[in-house]
């Protein structure tokens, strides 16, 4: 078994100190150590975006990030975003535009959308499509997700 490492980081605005195994992913830490389950496991190799989180402002796949690499950084998950005005706006837009079906990909898409909008508030349809190319959805066919993001800007 790998050594445990003490890390100190900010999670959704709250300082956290945790001991994590050196080989653990940030995804496993969030779900199994911290107990925040909004960040989803979809593939474990960065191909589906269900585990999208924000670290120091940018979005990453939590499954590709070492938990130890959270040390000293600012991490935001869907639970944190949902409690902010931009998160509320995105949620309302996803709901209103019918962008949610089974909902398993939704937290990752909302996270990615928040980053996309923040970075490029004037994003048009093509830029929104490109912006979510790393998030797979099996239910909606993406159309309503694209509309929801456009509607939340």
């Amino acid at each position: 078994m790998s050594a445990k490492v003490e890390i100190d980081f900010t999670l959704n605005g709250v300082r956290e100190q945790r001991a994590v195994a050196a080989d653990m992913s940030a995804l496993a830490m969030l779900r199994d150590v911290v107990g925040l389950t909004g960040t989803k496991y979809g593939c474990g190799e960065g191909e589906c975006g269900a585990c999208t989180i924000r670290v120091d402002g940018v979005t990453l796949n939590a499954c590709l990030m070492f938990a130890v690499d959270c040390d000293g950084r600012e991490v935001t998950t869907i639970e944190g975003l949902a409690a902010t005005p931009p998160g509320e706006k995105l949620r309302a837009s996803f709901v209103e535009h019918g962008a949610v079906q089974c909902g398993f990909c939704t937290p990752g898409l909302v996270m990615q959308a928040s980053h996309l909008i923040e970075k490029n508030p004037g994003a048009g349809e093509e830029e929104i499509r490109r912006g979510i190319e790393g998030n797979l959805c099996r239910c909606t066919g993406y159309r309503k997700i694209i509309e929801a993001i456009a509607g939340a800007k």
């Binding site: 078994m1 080989d23 999208t52």
Partner: protein
């Protein structure tokens, strides 16, 4: 079971080199290659897990004396956002635009993409076209030593490079190409990104009137490493991109590539795509 005994996140290159000299370290920066490879059992963790992501001196893009230095920790997103990269290294910029997804571009580093040495690695082909050099640093005898290698020599096989176990790739250096030099990257796929190239092509040249000078061509995913294609370059150097020159280039390309068949494409199809897409790129050049 994996047995990482120690985790280290040094802040300086000196410190990192020291740790590497002790041996037995798994190095990561963005983690986007190391993590899935470890999960799939293709990579066994060494005793030390070495996070080089905190070494400030490995960051940044800067130019001095006609040489652009790109720190190994520069993320693909940072490359995409660099006016210098976009303005002078168009092929590199295009390869970053086709790179995986936003989430991965935000984490993945240029150094990581080079050290991963995938035959289909997106940034490798344009960097070959740009005659990039890699800078390696290590502390074999107690003092920090640096060496430079042309990228073409650095890559030795799938996942294999000339980086010694005690070395870190610290930067990529690119001499600013001559005025008028332009480059183009083509990645074969059905979608803009989130795809592994079945083949890729990098093409760079200076156009003097209708004549091509300083022609550089590289291919990805058609050999154990991305490769420069000297015979294709020779077929085009100093010539007008007319039908005859293009045909000569295509014939040379057929001789210079050695694609394999795998689940992504057959060798035959890879050959056809190199031919058709190189032809298309050269026709675009001809039409200006």
């Amino acid at each position: 079971m994996s047995g990482i005994e120690r985790y280290a996140a040094p802040r300086t290159l000196e410190e990192a080199a020291e740790l590497l000299s002790a041996g037995g370290a798994t190095v990561f920066a963005g983690g986007t290659d190391v993590m899935p490879q470890a999960n799939a059992g293709r990579l066994r963790f060494q005793k030390t897990l070495l996070n080089i992501g905190r070494i400030a001196e490995l960051r940044g893009i800067g130019e001095s004396n006609g040489v652009v230095r790109i720190g190994a920790l520069t993320t693909i997103t940072e490359l995409l956002e660099s006016p210098l990269v976009r303005g002078r290294f168009r092929a590199l910029w295009q390869s970053c635009d086709h790179f995986a997804s936003d989430q991965i571009r935000n984490a993945a580093t240029l150094g990581g993409n080079l050290c991963n040495a995938s035959p289909a690695g997106d940034t490798l082909v344009p960097l070959l076209v740009l005659d990039a050099q890699v800078v390696l640093a290590g502390k074999p005898n107690g003092t920090l030593a640096t060496r430079r290698l042309p990228l073409a020599g650095f890559l030795t096989g799938p996942g294999r490079t000339l980086r010694a176990a005690h070395e870190l790739l610290t930067a990529v250096e690119i001499a600013l190409p001559p005025a008028g030099f332009d480059s183009e990257y083509f990645k074969f796929g059905t979608r803009p990104a989130l795809d592994i190239a079945a083949i890729s092509i990098g093409l760079g040249a200076v156009r003097e009137g209708r004549v091509l000078r300083d022609v550089r061509v590289a291919f990805g995913a058609v050999a154990p490493t991305p490769v420069r294609a000297p015979r294709v370059e020779a077929a085009l150097e100093g010539r007008i991109a007319d039908d005859a020159a293009i045909e000569a280039a295509l014939e040379a390309a057929a001789d210079e590539i050695h694609p394999i068949s795998d689940i992504r494409a057959s060798d035959w199809y890879r050959r056809e795509m190199v031919r058709n897409m190189l032809q298309r790129m050269l026709c675009d050049v001809r039409e200006g």
